[in-house]
Subunit: 315 residues, 2 copies
């Protein structure tokens, strides 16, 4: 297979930079970095060298020079630019929420529903940074015992809201640190909470799964955590759940995982695996991952590698 | 009623200092501050003046010179010193977990079960800083519709772990901020989680109430938050719950309460009041309070004032 020609749109953002870092670590050579006009000309580290950032114009992306392109930009920018790249034959792995719930667009966590990626029509969507670790932890339980309902309280880091949010946290005094709820509100819940429900249902192919989320931003730079209560259809003890999770791909079981222990690592960490004594077939878990890696850049690269290995990219 | 002679043991701690501040604001004059030998002689602000810290010896506390004494010290120190003060006729309001679950010791949140305080035998226990706001939010729902089960994920601030924990947070760089789980672990859960269950059961007088908690320390200086899912025995809509909470003593309903909005205030803030679509008669709430005030010092002072008003102190 010829070396694929890769693009990263949104290369200067928090996820874009980690995507570049991971691609360099993995030995990819034909990589181009794109961003808005404001960042064009900027130089970003790439392996031992640098990449000059190009402006992400429709022309540049539709020139037919890319086999696969990662998009880590806002929803509006993805809606404008992804179709250009698709039209020229590039497969797009898109991190925005623009296409995640669109019929015909696979929404993929490789360890959970990787086969779905092969059935793409030019776009594969990369889920929300909380959905990815949640589905990695739920899928082994679903396979063994079915899922009846799920409740999630999140502890999401500043990096999930982008580099400006990280800068704001860095500039704060400790007395200014607060919990934040910086998402769009529909009158009942945040879009982040609705995404977590809808995306989990799509990935697990459980369109009616009852799932309630309370999303909260915490003053941590990197790493998202989730306190999860899950009820299964059939009985599953905490010990059985632990054994299933220990055997699950992409999951590492630790007693007390935190964002600090997850940052810079590729795995989803699952700990505090307990019976939930309040409900029949109830379990509780604490799920943590590096939201920039497995929650975003790494998951996108894993999707890309799955497509490349299965020759589902026209390289 | 003569002006009560008050003592504060643990006056130099995070809760002790707030207790002094609140007592000065409320116009109490006969106040003595006690702490360990290490802090004896230190001067603490009190209103326009200062108090000199006295050593909290058994002799000092059993001299019969105090009508009511607040204890904000560790469990071992409370076990050693509270009985000395009780023996000399002082009523003790104890913040440690030493006596909270002891038969015959009332565990009191004035808005919830204030009458119980009158039935003391020298000690009234002040609940855990997460239990107090939780019971303030649950009691109006219990009265209206009964409680079937409760799940809580906490976001607890550094000040709940004392001044050293606050200093550590202040000294950290943002990159070092992490979620922490700094409680004793019994092999299944943290003592903090067991306390939240046992104390809530005792205060609400629901000894079998199913309650599961996941406790997490967040990098915030002051203010505890709790994501709560509650199922009631009878149907209760989110609108009905909101109306009940708006009318509840000590509770203020806000849309998006955070520790930053609660710090320095006396009320328990309850927001994000929603139907929980995953369960019959399910609701979810977000409960926040200043853990040093209503979660600790203020609740103790409210207990004291209730006793003084009802002449349940031999002043």
């Amino acid at each position: 297979m010829p070396e694929p020609r890769l693009g990263i749109v949104g290369a200067t953002g928090a996820v874009g930079r980690v995507t570049l870092e991971l691609l360099a670590e993995r030995g990819y050579e034909h990589v181009r970095a794109f961003a808005s006009a404001r960042s064009a000309g900027m130089r970003l580290p790439f392996g031992a060298g640098e990449l000059e950032v190009e402006e992400a114009t429709p022309q540049a992306l539709s020139a037919g020079e890319l086999d696969l392109c990662f998009f880590s930009v806002g929803t509006a920018a993805s809606r404008a630019l992804v179709p250009e790249a698709v039209r020229s034959g590039a497969v797009c792995v898109d991190k925005s929420s623009a296409y995640r719930l669109q019929d015909g667009v696979p929404l993929v966590v490789p360890e959970v529903n990787g086969e779905r990626a092969l059935d793409h029509d030019g776009i594969v969507a990369n889920p929300n940074c909380c959905t990815i670790p949640l589905t990695c932890a739920l899928e082994p339980l679903r396979q063994a015992a079915g899922l009846r309902r799920v409740r999630v309280a999140t502890y999401q880091s500043a990096s999930g809201a982008g580099t400006q949010s990280m800068e704001r946290l860095r500039a704060e005094t400790p007395a200014e640190h607060d919990l934040r709820m910086d998402w769009d509100f529909d009158g009942v819940e945040f879009d982040e909470e609705a995404k977590l429900r809808a995306e989990t249902r799509k990935i697990l192919e459980l369109p009616e799964l009852p799932l309630a989320a309370t999303c909260v931003r915490v003053p941590v730079l990197v790493g998202h955590a989730e306190a999860v209560w899950v009820e299964t259809d059939e009985a599953l003890s905490a010990d059985e759940a632990r054994a299933l999770l220990e055997a699950a791909p992409g999951v590492v079981v630790e007693d007390f995982p935190t964002p600090g222990t997850a940052a810079g690592r590729d795995d989803v960490l699952v700990g505090r695996i307990r019976d939930d004594p309040t409900a029949e077939n109830g379990l509780s878990l604490f799920v943590v991952c590096d939201n920039l890696r497995k929650g975003a850049a790494l998951n996108a690269i894993q999707i890309a590698e799955l497509l490349l290995a299965r020759r589902a990219v026209a390289a």
